[in-house]
Symmetry: C2
Subunit: 321 residues, 2 copies
Amino acid sequence: MIIVPEKEIAALMTRADAFTAVEQIFASMSKGSAYNFPVIREAIGHENALYGFKGGFDKSGMSLGLKAGGYWPNNLEKHGEINHQSTVFLFDPDTGKVKAMVGGNLLTALRTAAASSVSIKHLARKDARVMGMVGAGHQATFQLRAALEQRAFEKVIGWNYHPEMLPNIEKIANEAGLPFEAVPLEGMVEADVVISITSTFAPTIMAHHIGAGTHIACMGTDTKGKQEVEAALLAKSTVFTDEVAQSISIGEAQHAIGSGLIMETDVNELGAVINGTHPGRTSAGEITMFDGTGVGLQDLAVAASVVDLAVEKGVATIVDF
Amino acid sequence: MIIVPEKEIAALMTRADAFTAVEQIFASMSKGSAYNFPVIREAIGHENALYGFKGGFDKSGMSLGLKAGGYWPNNLEKHGEINHQSTVFLFDPDTGKVKAMVGGNLLTALRTAAASSVSIKHLARKDARVMGMVGAGHQATFQLRAALEQRAFEKVIGWNYHPEMLPNIEKIANEAGLPFEAVPLEGMVEADVVISITSTFAPTIMAHHIGAGTHIACMGTDTKGKQEVEAALLAKSTVFTDEVAQSISIGEAQHAIGSGLIMETDVNELGAVINGTHPGRTSAGEITMFDGTGVGLQDLAVAASVVDLAVEKGVATIVDF
């Protein structure tokens, strides 16, 4: 079997490869040729850790397996390790034998960034010029970097609950040759594309913070109770997601559905837009929203891609198993 | 991280070690210091395969992880590989990092055999002399070999739907120095201990096939709809299991519960007997039944044990991950 350790991923996986893998898997999910298994997520009662499995099978790409791991909030302080820890295991769909083990930490960051980037490609206005960021943590830098490749942006504006973290994303904007401006939430109305990447249980972004014609990608909500945007904003938007079942149960749509503002049938698959079976944005004034909840198939897709690259470049560790 | 490939397991894991690991984990489950996660089991729509994950966390033994794999019915014919394929992954409960990967095929056979053996130790009459087998496939040989170590048996009797397979278990009996006799199902009434290890959707063993004072371990039912013994037999027996939730939903007890013959509270944990919080057998005439459904923690327990042995004996493969 093939082993690709965490430390090899950065040199192997490009944003472009992650983008392609995620775009393809969203398309396959919408076609019905790839599906995610139910998610296991357990508070194990040790180190306040959340641990679980996200699995799936992609019949087109012949990827079968899971990402296992979770969130260990004391890791950094106690062990100097990052708090999110995950590993991807790929199996041979023809035999059920394990095929590869791949470090999942950087891949998770890249696939999450790729998801909002794919949504921007397919849903944002072509003439989008102002990129808005709500959130400025570690993952925000990945989201912004991938987003900036999708349109000819001229400026990045940003807000964060802790403004002292804004230099994280200012740096990314500047690397791309763009000016950065810190704004209050009300200033976000200027953005043509917004990515929110925060972890909150009360909405930060209100409907009036988002201007007409904006595409907003909500990337921080993946748990019952979490919420980044006011439910009323979903009622004003055309809502897309990676997986409808997750969007309405653990994504942003849970709240708008719960309060009766939208129905399950109002939540559309981004994959359908990629496949051309949903028109996507139909006017310049429309607000489009991507509710990115994160699915196991994204992890399998980028891991399968990295395994191919590792084999191709001769850096895969092969062990007898 | 540590890798113990399938081919190393036979030389490392003894029946005695598997027995100890399974006995301890049943005890921990009953104490509440170890618990299984919900099971994922998916018909993936390729090769008629069933694939899934059985995970858990044992806080006493500090084992965290899962067994992944399943049943590929065409493996033997198409690829010369066994149809059941599985791999166990252990994680460090302190950090969430992957710790070990262990071949799970032989371990599954050993831990399943250990479960019925543990049940015989704690529930069969001390003076049991006749061992009865219903089922004579590959797994039956493991169950019988482990069972014979628990009492001073003098004879093995066996029945199988395909009688031409009975030599499989006759061989095991003879290896233990015991005579073997093929019997009709009615002849099973002579047995003091019975193990059923078949895969059927209609009961084979009727209540009148089991004599007073017998201990019967039903090891073949792990899916909704499967059934090895007539539900009426459960009503006549004191019923024990590895995990009550599984017993009543996917184990033998599903049918007796469904038809109202017994209640959930009639299904007892074998771990409680091991811990001394349930008296177990209380009379020589009592029929005791073990409904062995198979839990992820058994897999983690034997895998953790094998990792320790592999490290101790210097045969573990260590890879940088």
